[in-house]
Symmetry: C2
Subunit: 297 residues, 2 copies
Amino acid sequence: MAYDAIETPFGKTGKILGGCATYIGLAASLFKAKCGIVSVIGDDFEQAHLDLLKARKLDLSGVETIQGEKTFFWSGKYHNDLNTRTTMETQLNVLTKFKPVVPDYFKDASIVLLGNLDPNLQLAVLNQLSHKPTLVVMDTMNFWIESYREKLDEVIGKVDVISINDEEARMITSTHSLVEAAKKLQQMGPKYVIIKKGEHGALLFHENQIFCAPALPLENVFDPTGAGDSFIGGFVGHLSQCKNVSFEEMKTATIIGSAMASFTVQKFGTKSLEELILPELKERLDIFKSLTEFELT
Amino acid sequence: MAYDAIETPFGKTGKILGGCATYIGLAASLFKAKCGIVSVIGDDFEQAHLDLLKARKLDLSGVETIQGEKTFFWSGKYHNDLNTRTTMETQLNVLTKFKPVVPDYFKDASIVLLGNLDPNLQLAVLNQLSHKPTLVVMDTMNFWIESYREKLDEVIGKVDVISINDEEARMITSTHSLVEAAKKLQQMGPKYVIIKKGEHGALLFHENQIFCAPALPLENVFDPTGAGDSFIGGFVGHLSQCKNVSFEEMKTATIIGSAMASFTVQKFGTKSLEELILPELKERLDIFKSLTEFELT
C-alpha cells in the first residue's frame, strides 16, 4: 500500500492512493470470495483510504501501521508514448521495517498472490502459511531481477503462476523470444506463465498451450500506473470463484484481468477501480469477446 | 517482383525470389479465384521462377519483361530482435522504367490490390480499370510517406482498405494512439483500416468496430521478409471467395492473413508459401481459433 504522485501527458496528481495491494484488492474485491491484504503503512495513511478499502469488504487485519513513520511514496513521470516512465522520487519509509505477519485466519487461504516486492518478503509470507494454497501467484519487477536474483529464483520455484511483463521475462531468461522465455520460466517452477505486453495484450502459457488476450484498443491511455496489478487482481478475483482451476478458467481470468486493466488506465490512479461496478465489467467483457471472435468456414 | 538477398541471425541467402507481388500472388493463389499480376522484370528473371508462379495458376500476362535490364534487387540484414533491419543495397533496375499496363481482361477485376510501390504507379493502375472493383486494397511504406505524400494521399482517398504497419500509421497521421490513427486514416478515405503490429498481431478497424488478430507466438521468427505481403495476399485471397464483403468476412480474412504470415516467417523468402497446402493452412487456422477463444460465464 502506498502513496503515489503521477505525471502523464494528460495531467499531474498530488499524493494519491497507490500500491500493488491497493490495486489488486480493489480489482479482486469485485468478486465474491473473501480477500485480505498483508501490507504496511505509516501513520500518515488517511482514514478515508482505509474506509474506502473496508467498504469494499477487504480484510485489513494483516495491514500493520507503524507509528511515527510514513507510508511508502513513489512519484513518477510518464513520457509521451506512455510506455516509458522516469521515477522522480522513491521514499521507502515504512517498507524498510516491513516484516509481514500473516493473520492466523489468512493462513489457509486458497489463493495467495505475492505482489511485486522484495523476494525475501514474498518468501516470508509463503513460509507462514499453514496449508498449501490451491494457487500461488507472483509478480516481480526489474529491480528484484537485477539485485535479488538468487532469492527471486527461490520464490519462482515455489509458485504456480508468474505474471510479469515482456521485458522482465526476457531479462530473467536471457531470451528474446517470448515463447522460449515462457518455456524457461516454466522449467523454473510455475506451471502457468503470464507475459504482459501492455497495449499489445497478454500471453498465457501452460504446458504446450498458449492463449493470447488482447488489450482493449483505447483512444488514449490516461495513466498506466497499476495496470499490471489490476490485471492480476482481476485474474485471481475470477479464479477465486471457480471450483477448479483449469487452463480454460485461466483464459477467462486473463481476459477479466485485461478488462480490469483497461479500466484502470482510463483515469488517474485507483479512480476507475473505485467507481467500477460489476455490470460495467460484464459489458466490457462482451467487448473483449467481440474484439477477438471470428468465424471459420 | 524482385530478387532479394537476406541475412538474419539464423543464416544468409544468395539471390532469392522476392517482391510483394510474388508473396501476395503465392498467398492468394491458395484460394479459388483467378489471380493476375501486373509487374515488371528484367531478362535475368529465371524461367524456373516464372514456372513456379504459373504452376500456381497465377496469370502473368501483366508482367512486362524489359530486355537488357535487370530485375529490382534488394538486400538487407535483420538485427538480432528481427524487428529492425538495415538495407544493404537497393538496385531499382527495371523499376525506373516501369509503366504498368493492365491487360484488358484484368480491367474488370473484382478485387484490386495495390502493392507497396510508388503511389504514381498505384494511381496509374487504378486509372486503367474499366469497372469499379468491389474492393481496392493498398499497402505502402515509410519511403512513400516521407517523399511522395501528396500523391500517396490521393491513392489513400481512392481505396477501400489500407493495410500498413503501426509505425507507418503513426507517421501518416502524426498520432501516437493507433485507435486515433485509424480514425484519421478512415477520414482520408478507406472504410477499412488494417494496422499490422508484427509479432503483436494486427488490428482491423471499420466505423466504430475493432477486431484484434493475434500473431502466432513462434519460438523463432526465421525471416520476416514478406510477412506483410503474405498477410494481405491471404486477406484478399479469402475475400475473393466471399459473396459479400462484410466486416465479419474481413475478420476471418485478417486471421487468414495472419496465418499466412506465420508460415512465411518460418523459412527464408517465399519457401514456406511455395510449399504450403490448404490442409496445413486449415490446421493453423484452428490454432488461431484456440489461441483466442474463451468462455464467459
